[in-house]
Subunit: 339 residues, 2 copies
Amino acid sequence: MITIKDVAELAGVSKATVSRALNNSGYVSPETKKKIDEIIEKYHYLPSASAVNLSKQETTTIGVVVPEIGNLFYADIVQGITRKADELDLSLVLFDTGNNMEREEKAIRVLQQQRVKGIILGPSIDYAESKRGKKLLKQLTDMHLPIVIIDRDFEQMPWDAVIYENYQSSYRAAQELYRAGNRTAAMIAGDMNLKIGRDRLDGFRKGAQDCGLELKEEDIFYGNFSMEDSYQLAKKLLTREELPDALYTCNNATTLGFLKAAKEVKRKAGVDIALIGNDRIDIVDILGMNISWIYRDTYNMGYTAMQLLQERFEHPDKPRSLCMIPYQVELNGSEKKKK
Amino acid sequence: MITIKDVAELAGVSKATVSRALNNSGYVSPETKKKIDEIIEKYHYLPSASAVNLSKQETTTIGVVVPEIGNLFYADIVQGITRKADELDLSLVLFDTGNNMEREEKAIRVLQQQRVKGIILGPSIDYAESKRGKKLLKQLTDMHLPIVIIDRDFEQMPWDAVIYENYQSSYRAAQELYRAGNRTAAMIAGDMNLKIGRDRLDGFRKGAQDCGLELKEEDIFYGNFSMEDSYQLAKKLLTREELPDALYTCNNATTLGFLKAAKEVKRKAGVDIALIGNDRIDIVDILGMNISWIYRDTYNMGYTAMQLLQERFEHPDKPRSLCMIPYQVELNGSEKKKK
DNA sequence: TTGAAAGCGCTAACAT
DNA sequence: ATGTTAGCGCTTTCAA
């Protein structure tokens, strides 16, 4: 591998001059610049990132750690991140923690060794709610690094974050369902131990209440965001005598669980479904149900996260910003529904 | 940021000793080792990757470049890669080219600067079939780096690769459909300019021929792997008087296009469908069609790719290996079909 | 406009 | 068992 020293010798100048030519820093005469460029071109010289990093004491890479890159939710986010990162000429070091705290800790450690410029982090758990989480939180703060959190917001969090507007959007979902002609609703809710779980339920409940959409307590099914669990709950719901006009699921997995149950029970009519997810619009469409799709623009989330990070690089002392991404709502077919 | 020098001073030893303690290389007495460890622990010292890389003249990161990480196909692959990489304590630098050759070239350039240990590459085009591709191919060979190609295999390719067993698996698909009771079939094929397109058609055709499954030329619909295109073709197929017993689509997008058409035409019965894809099993299941699912184990593909790369690190001179991943076949409900 | 030299944080002979 | 020293490839004063 050819080095700056080789280039310098070949061009008959010093390393310093080559460096200046490379970075357009300081003066270098047009002729020598030209000669250097030729050598570089000819030998395909590319400076070693490690050497540059070490010398400049800063890198141009940022760390990305997510719970599960094979999950379309995160894959889309990462896609958004890559896009903006590319615009800013930053490289990404990616870690997949598999929702495992040990791997999450290891990832942070490695990123620290790499001396990354910043981190975009999708935490696998709520750091504020376990000793292990708090430890990691401290580890992160001790790095004194720009950090952007995605999809989570917990008490005392010191960093920028981009999260979904869970409460407001769920509130709106209820209103929209009512507006479309529905009068009674059910919900398969998520884990009440998680803020996102509470926010989505609270928002939907308040929204329903404010517009007169009936949401009885016994029509709220408490799940844990998992497909299996939601499947069971949906089966319970669907085998009842009376079905509500509308159903609000609370995430991708819940949606899938419901669809599975719907297939088994073969009771497709009579329910408007407000599903939440970031995919599969095209597919669920064929169910023949009236589906109101509420989807999360995950790509945008990633792009925004990278953008926040960049702003933080430029203004290290600006106040913390929380970026709320609203759900997009599509009321397919619901308009036709009448009670 | 605390350095090895600081640690050495705090422990009252030389940098060399700290280095030895750090890497378990050479001798270092238990007492000094202990003292050093304490300092490290206390001050959270972590060696700078750049410095280590520069000194050792080698890194522990590998480059991953894919056309579109937001595509579940690649997301899954990357998931598999991260898993194996984690086991091997390697970091990943990820690039998303967006099927853009310029970005692909840039990615390679950056990876070269980073002096990555190896590259796993999902090419956006067939390098052997354009001047631009050939240029990149040369750029890559000039790096003299272990490289593993995923999902493509072209003439004269000098690297290890992990690809789908398109021909064989398509062959088997035909056989399985016959075995399940089908006697006539149609296929929505992909782009004949691409090897994967040809392989899938050729394999299916030969398989059908060998077992007696009828596949008339007019029942082969030539598409281009896109959803929109497949949708149009599927509509043509579905509006015919006579439907074949079975249909073989050739990729995810084709499947979606077909499903969309099926919904519109509302002619769900009468077709056994052998779909190919790596997702949505759960969803299409609810269509009420008899669906034979042929899916690609993408996670496994990524894992294998990383494994191949590792083997290449260990045995730089072993002959090139082409790893064929077979499709998984699930014949749901097809068994009940009778002619 | 250019070069010499020191230094970034670490490793790896070589001495002791 | 430990220290000294040179060097990895680059940047950046400081001189010239």
